[in-house]
Amino acid sequence: MIVMKDIFKTYNNGVTALNGVNVEIKQGEFVYIVGPSGAGKSTFIRLMYREAKPTSGSIIINDIDLGELKERKVPELRRQIGVIFQDFKLLPKLSTYENVAFALEVTEEHPRNIRKRVLEVLDLVGLKNKARSFPNELSGGEQQRVSIARAIVNHPKIVIADEPTGNLDPETSWGIMRVFEEINSRGTTIIMATHSKEIVNTIKKRVIAIEDGLIVRDERRGDYGYEA
């Protein structure tokens, strides 16, 4: 369960990205975040795993009050949330396999389980044959899929995706969406910022539209609502 109350966020440079956001997302929901570029979607998402802190307002994630969360407890929060970053954020000196395994290594998982689980996830995103490749040897779409694999590898309760299909061809995009639906059906909350009208209008889910830092629309089974 994610609860945001009266969230304002002004960056150090004076840009106000969020302007009083109130939202509640229950465990197991599938939510699209839509809106024009610069509307504040990424900012909204960043607050959840504490890459950014709100200027004011409160955030509660799985009963953790982020306002009172101690710095040293932040890693625990982040391990409960799998994040697919808009810019991937892969570790450049690690192979595909090692990048995905890293998310399990930080939790001191047993190597045997790590191996099994990583290969499983790589298979799921169709990257088993690229396990030994390094990020700079992968296409944009492949890097994105590594990022997806890393986000879901440790069975997080919440998966947050910032334009996870931005660099993918339609076929791969639908494949990734199937993966999301699959893990969503097992109870994982999915929050996905996207510019893909096709996906939002085809796989109907809750849609939250953000414009100028405000939620302007929140529909149970919504449309994309913008001309692509």
């Binding site: 890693p75 982040r78 000196k93 930080v106």
Partner: protein
């Protein structure tokens, strides 16, 4: 909260730490060099200080007052003088040593050359002597003064000058050495912390990513900690070798030729081993300190 780190995690950190050392190439070499120079000086200085200290103690413990008795004095006077000395407060023992005994001592202490002194056996020019020991070495001087004031005493000798000079020298050596070593240790720490800063800066984006993926500060810090420790320990290899070899040489070759009574070097075992251990420890500490200093600022993601 202390969590016990699992062996495989330790393994990972070790591997990463070693990798960093190689990745930084010449900067690592420079840091190791700085530690090496520092530790060689630390080692030499500690060797000197500990041996001087030991010698000073030997001398102090061994201070005897040689009371030279007037050549003209008769037996009764000698005995009376002995009683008087015994009566002084703080005197531990009084030993009479006749002039023949004294000559014998002189001859043995001179070794080969001493044989020529054998000529004096017929016409011994030495004095009878009372050898006096104080219960407490610190009282030696006071006792010596009292004895000197007595009748039939020609002269009083004790190792005052030697002791005082040794302690004085020791004091200055210690101060100069500490300043020197302080400066060097500081330089070495600075170099190591810069080397590690280099690793960190090159990897600050990576560190940020690691944290976003759920790595704790500890998880990120360990490899740098190990990198620093490794630089320190690598820097102590040469100094330890030099000290072991140097001290062994000193003990086996040099100390044989020194016949001064108080100048005895500390035995190789355990001194050289203890010193080596201390040097490795100081090296590791310098490295760890350097790494801790540089990592701290970078973890606030």
């Amino acid at each position: 909260m202390i969590t016990v780190m699992k062996l495989r995690t330790i393994n990972r950190h070790l591997r990463e730490g070693v990798k960093n050392v190689f990745r930084n190439g010449w900067m690592s070499v420079a840091s190791i060099g700085a530690v090496t120079v520092t530790l060689i000086l630390v080692g030499a200085f500690l060797t000197l200080i500990f041996n001087l200290n030991q010698m000073a103690e030997n001398v102090e413990q061994d201070v005897e007052i040689n009371t030279l008795i007037d050549l003209t004095v008769n037996k009764e006077d000698i005995l009376e003088l002995g009683d008087q000395i015994k009566a002084i407060d703080g005197v531990d023992s009084v030993l009479f040593s006749s002039k023949d005994d004294e000559l014998q001592k002189l001859i043995t202490s001179m070794g080969e050359q001493g044989k020529s002194w054998g000529l004096f056996e017929q016409d011994n020019p030495l004095n009878h002597v009372y050898i006096v020991r104080a219960k407490d070495p610190n009282q030696t001087m006071a006792i010596a003064e009292k004895i000197e004031a007595m009748d039939h005493v020609e002269e009083v000798n004790y190792g005052k000058d030697v002791v005082e000079r040794l302690f004085e020298f020791n004091k200055y050596a210690r101060i100069i050495g500490l300043v020197l070593i302080g400066g060097l240790v500081f330089t070495a720490i600075f170099l190591i912390s810069n080397t590690i800063k280099l690793t960190i800066m090159a990897r600050s984006r990576e560190i940020g990513i690691m944290k976003l993926v759920g790595a704790t500060n500890g998880f990120i810090r360990w490899p740098f900690f190990i990198e620093g420790m490794l630089l320190g320990i690598l820097g102590s290899i040469l100094p330890v070798t030099a000290i072991m070899a140097g001290y062994y040489y000193l003990i086996t070759n040099v100390s044989q030729h020194i016949t001064l009574p108080f100048v005895k070097l500390l035995p190789f075992n355990p001194f050289a081993w203890q010193l080596s251990l201390a040097i490795v420890g100081v090296g590791a500490l310098i490295g760890i300190w350097g790494s801790v200093m540089s990592v701290r600022k970078f973890l606030k993601v």
